[in-house]
Amino acid sequence: MGSITLKQVTKSFDDVNVIKPLDLDIRDGEFIVFVGPSGCGKSTLLRMIAGLEDTTSGTIEIDGKEATSVPPAKRGLAMVFQSYALYPHMSVRNNIAFPLKQAKVAPAVIKEKIEKAATMLNLTDYLDRKPGQLSGGQRQRVAIGRAIVRQPSAFLFDEPLLNLDASLRVNMRLEISQLHKSLDTTMIYVTHDQVEAMTMADRIAVFNGGIIEQVGTPLELYRKPVNRFVAGFIGSPKMNFIDVAPKPGDATHSLGVRPEHFKITTEQGLWQGQVGVVEHLGSETFLHVHVDHIGTLTVKADGDCQAVYGDQINLTAEQAKIMHFDKQGMTIPALSWGGESAA
């Protein structure tokens, strides 16, 4: 079991409302990612679920039981911190054993659980080392090991890969996803990296300014963002926004085109521009194209794209995949990708 329900929870620090009233149902066994820019409240909400921050109002239920005022250790949750938060004076073995010792588990059981976790996380050879003698990835594994042995009803990850280098981050991302598959336990994962969110999540909650803008599967958020914020936050490189003059009977104030939905044409296109910076990634090329009266558009092209700085190119967009936003920045579903007319 590991379902978590948030009902109208809020958090204020003095007069500042960090979390505005929000509701969220986290299903048993799902991998949900809280994503959003810095300061949007995602980590605060995770800490409220953990019990490390008091909830100003509203209720938190874990497995159907009211847990708003329950101390962190009694919530049956385990947390993996950004800085690993290992006990530097203890060996890896004692770090992993710490929660079990606090729960007064029998030494034989502790030994067995440590060995099982160490095998699962490839830590067997490092059990007698201190955290200071381990690499970043190994430390993160120890932190995960310490969480696993408690057999929590849900794992809470607070930007756990932030301190790792890029290649290690990709590996650890995969390991955490595999761990989720093998444990089948609820995981709540906080990150500001939308790539991590898209690749790992069953569902993503997009935070902005203390509210959840949208909750959905990665592809739902990519294809049917509810507003400009979600549309711009999900997807890399981010969506291009083009302001348009409103027409009678059409509420569209701006269009959204993802870089991968542009087509470069030799004949007349919708927009004509001059190529600026060209980024070759091998498998694909990103062109930053300056279009008069619009600004710079990011275009994703093939890896063998021959465009160079200063070239004049024409751009069109896949009509069905253009997003339409109204004056308030809300998506107009009927006109947008995934909407009725586009289907």
């Binding site: 250790a73 950004q82 800085s83 938060a85 290992l86 006990y87 710490f98 929660p99 606090q102 729960a103």
Partner: protein, 276 residues
């Protein structure tokens, strides 16, 4: 050219440093030398630094006249007792100030520290009368209490500075792992902060050992530590400089040895949090 001028600067700085160190150390050196002189040589109008007849007579006389080891024991008990008692209060106080901060924490810390600027004589009479009424005059317990209280602000401040350097997340992890406040402090915080706690303990042992104002006023015979023992050799008449010097040397040597062996720890402790 640049190397030459930088070498010159280094030499000048070194000379200045040695001169200032020499000036600071000279009174101690003079006391040590005087302790090996006769009383007549000690008050000579043209005192000699090394060219005199060296004698141990002052030491034998001081040891014969006074119960040095009783005073020594009192100093050990009072300074260690006050430092340990201080730690028992300061650790939880510093923990709460470092990890459960409120808007008033900084102000409270500053207020605590400001009490160190209060002239001790300002509270002399109430403390003296209180001690007299509760029977704490001339007792080790009384001095332990006073020393604990007067050094507590410094202990809390030092420990607070140390604790602030420890990531909150480690203690939060302990909380998530099921540790109560007691386990959190004893099994996680204290082992991590051990160097800071050792520095705090050492500094307070030294401060309490050297404290003279309260020891002279609140003790007479039974609980008198080495500071009172030194003072007993100061006399308005007669020759006493050499014996006073011998008594001073005997009083400061133990703490000087302790300070010498723990100087690295002390410097680290005192500069902790100042540079990062």
């Amino acid at each position: 050219m640049a190397t030459n001028s930088s070498n010159k600067t280094k030499v000048i700085y070194t000379l200045v440093a040695w001169t200032i160190s020499g000036m600071i150390f000279f009174p101690i050196l003079w006391t040590i030398i005087t302790s090996f002189k006769t009383e007549a040589e000690a008050i000579s109008a043209s005192p000699s630094l090394f060219m005199f007849e060296w004698t141990l007579e002052n030491y034998t006389q001081v040891l014969a006249r006074s119960p040095y080891f009783d005073h020594f024991l009192n100093s050990v008990i009072i300074s260690l007792g006050a430092s340990i008692a201080g730690l028992l209060v300061a650790i939880p106080a510093a923990w709460s100030m470092a990890f459960v901060q409120t808007k008033r924490t900084k102000g409270l810390l500053m207020w605590m520290l400001s009490t160190k600027m209060l002239p001790p004589v300002g509270v002399l009479i109430p403390i003296y009368l209180l001690f007299r009424d509760v029977g704490l005059l001339d007792t080790r317990l009384g001095l332990v209490i006073v020393m604990t209280l007067i050094n507590l602000p410094i202990m809390v401040w030092m420990l607070y500075t140390y604790f602030r350097e420890i990531p909150h997340e480690i203690l939060e992890a302990a909380r998530m792992d099921g540790a109560g406040i007691k386990e959190e402090i004893l099994t996680v915080l204290l082992p991590i902060a051990l160097p800071g706690i050792a520095s705090t303990l050492l500094l307070n042992v030294i401060l309490a050992w050297n404290e003279a104002f309260w020891t002279l006023i609140l003790t007479a015979a039974h609980a008198a530590p080495l500071t009172a023992f030194i003072a007993s050799y100061s006399s308005p008449e007669g020759l006493f400089y050499a014996k006073l010097s011998a008594a001073s040397v005997m009083a400061v040597v133990p703490i000087l040895i302790l300070g010498w062996f723990s100087q690295k720890q002390l410097v680290r402790g005192l500069s902790f949090g100042a540079v990062k």
